[in-house]
């Protein structure tokens, strides 16, 4: 270990003993969160999230492909994170390392396990064709707390995603198009999706126009992360705090105030009381962040 982290640790813990943090926040406070959606035109959905100086961009691409044999009627989602060297002097190019894989998997789990995307509504023809959803996360500027920034960016991007039906139809020839249009139109008849207009009445059936529709989603849980340094629990760690942290805990809470996911990281440990403290803070901050998220997508 070099000397700089030792000095920084000293400085940060000294401040913490006085109830302070290096950027002047209280222990429970988040840095300023800024969510901007629809930032990439070529993507089906996209969002840029800033938490303080940390900046993350998430883009959603969709395609049509085969479902997994064991789930023939559900769509497929996959998540990838890129720690591009642009974001930090410590990031290197090449295939994703441990950290990028962990981040992608935590974000993926948050979306998949709480069934935020209604994948069962993304089936076109059982066992043959379903929609594939690709969530790609690009770290642009790394100043700590990537878990929260990345999962928030993924949610904001998903919530603004339009399933690119018209783009897909453009790639087919006349005959294929007619048959696919029929099949694609079926997914509009599923409750919850069929409010989207596609053609007016029976007489115009042959020219039934299938349009892009919003990705079917449910209210998502929000992730909040805290770290522990000595005995102090700090929410939304910045880079300097994260580097010296003993242990990290991410808690995802839903709009009813229930817990939907947790992930502990690093080699330290938490007491039961500390975990309660993190959960309480995650609920409070989660509510605020949810408001910001809803606001950013125009709700």
């Amino acid at each position: 270990m070099t000397i700089v982290p030792v000095i920084k640790r000293d400085y940060i813990t000294k401040l913490a003993e006085q109830g302070k943090r290096i950027d002047g926040r209280t222990f429970d406070n988040y840095r300023t969160i800024d969510i901007e959606t629809k930032v990439v035109n070529k993507a089906e959905g996209s969002a840029r999230v800033k938490i303080g100086n940390t900046q993350v961009l998430c883009g959603i691409k969709m395609d049509i492909g085969e479902p997994f044999p064991d789930t023939p009627t559900t769509g497929v989602m996959s998540t990838a994170a890129e720690f591009v060297p642009l974001a930090s002097p410590d990031f290197e190019s090449g295939p994703p390392r441990e950290n990028a894989i962990e981040l992608a998997r935590v974000v993926d789990r948050g979306v998949r396990e709480s069934q935020v995307i209604q994948l069962e509504k993304l089936c076109i023809a059982p066992s043959e064709k379903v929609w594939l959803v690709f969530i790609d996360i690009h770290i642009l500027d790394y100043d700590g707390n990537l878990f929260d920034a990345a999962s928030l960016a993924a949610l904001a991007a998903l919530l603004t995603t339009k399933v690119p039906v018209s783009r897909f139809l453009k790639t087919l020839n006349e005959k294929e198009r007619a048959s696919w249009q029929e099949q694609l139109a079926d997914i509009y008849r599923i409750p919850g999706v069929n409010e989207v207009p596609f053609g007016s009445d029976e007489t115009s059936t042959n020219q039934k126009k299938v349009e892009d529709f919003p990705l079917p989603m449910i209210e998502p849980p929000i992730s909040c992360t805290a770290v522990k340094i000595n005995d102090f629990v700090l929410f939304d760690p910045c880079f300097d705090e994260e580097v010296i942290a003993d242990v990290r805990l991410t808690v995802a809470t839903d709009h009813k105030g229930d817990l939907r996911a947790m992930q502990k990281g690093l080699s330290g440990s938490f007491t039961r009381e500390e975990i309660q403290k993190v959960i309480k803070g995650a609920l409070d901050n989660g509510q605020e962040i949810r408001k910001k998220l809803n606001h950013s997508i125009g709700k």
Binding site: V40, Q55, P89, D143
Partner: protein
């Protein structure tokens, strides 16, 4: 590749309403990232590009070091979601080639002999793509290098010209790139008009090439002014901050 799309209307306008010698809209901002030593965000028509510079710092692995001067390593990378059909993440043959030609172009203007054994890393991320990303990337990288305080002989700049429906035009757009006849991206050192990068594909007559080259050169100088304005704005904002 031929298509039925008419790239130039009877009134002489292009698909996006530009005349033959018009550039797309360009917006440049310097110093947008916190961790990087220097950075730049650039929008060029539908292209959105971020560039970040790290260094000069010790070149690793050691065997890449040059005892007499710094090495310049540009890395051009496209985001998976930046194009119509998702691009598989990571370097492919195309981006390796583009990284190489950009590195070489930048190396020419950087005073590398000031930093033996060091490396100057330039990362270019294409976030949204719409024809002409290498020119956009190089022009953004140049501003990021200035923002990082890297000593340079000049601020390099790039722009492309091409041929559509037999006519030489400046700065090809998306359909023009796909269905046009030729494309000529160049990068220059604007003080001396030395050419730092030149690629061409398609079909030009010598006369057309000369026309296209001159047009691209003119385009480069226009972009160069926008670069300088962005750098000046960054400096002025720093001055204002210090005075506060």
């Amino acid at each position: 590749m031929k298509s039925d799309i008419k790239l130039i209307t009877d009134e002489g306008k292009r698909l996006d309403g530009r005349g033959p010698h018009d550039l797309r809209k360009i917006k440049i901002e310097a110093g947008v990232l916190h961790r990087a030593d220097g950075s730049c965000y650039l929008e060029w028509g539908g292209n959105k590009v971020l560039a970040a510079v790290y260094g000069p710092r010790e070149a690793v692995p050691r065997h890449t070091q040059n005892p007499l001067k710094a090495i310049v390593q540009a890395r051009y990378n496209m985001a998976a979601f930046s194009v119509e059909d998702r691009k598989r993440p990571g370097p492919d043959r195309r981006s390796v080639e583009i990284s190489k030609v950009i590195s070489e172009a930048l190396e020419k203007v950087i005073l590398t002999e000031y930093f033996p054994r060091a490396s100057i890393d330039v990362n270019i991320e294409v976030l949204d793509a719409e024809a002409g990303t290498r020119c956009a990337g190089l022009s953004a990288a140049a501003v990021a290098l200035v923002d990082a305080g890297i000593p340079m002989r000049d601020i390099p700049v790039a722009c492309a010209a091409g041929k559509i429906e037999g006519q030489v035009v400046l700065d090809l757009g998306k359909e023009e790139d796909n269905f046009g006849d030729a494309d000529l991206p160049i990068a220059i050192s604007p003080r001396t008009d030395e050419v730092l990068l030149l690629q061409m594909d398609g079909h030009f007559t010598v006369n057309e090439f000369n026309q296209a080259f001159d047009l691209a050169l003119k385009g480069c100088h226009t972009v160069s002014e926008i670069q300088k304005k962005a750098i000046l704005e960054k400096y002025q904002s720093v001055v204002a901050e210090v005075q506060e």
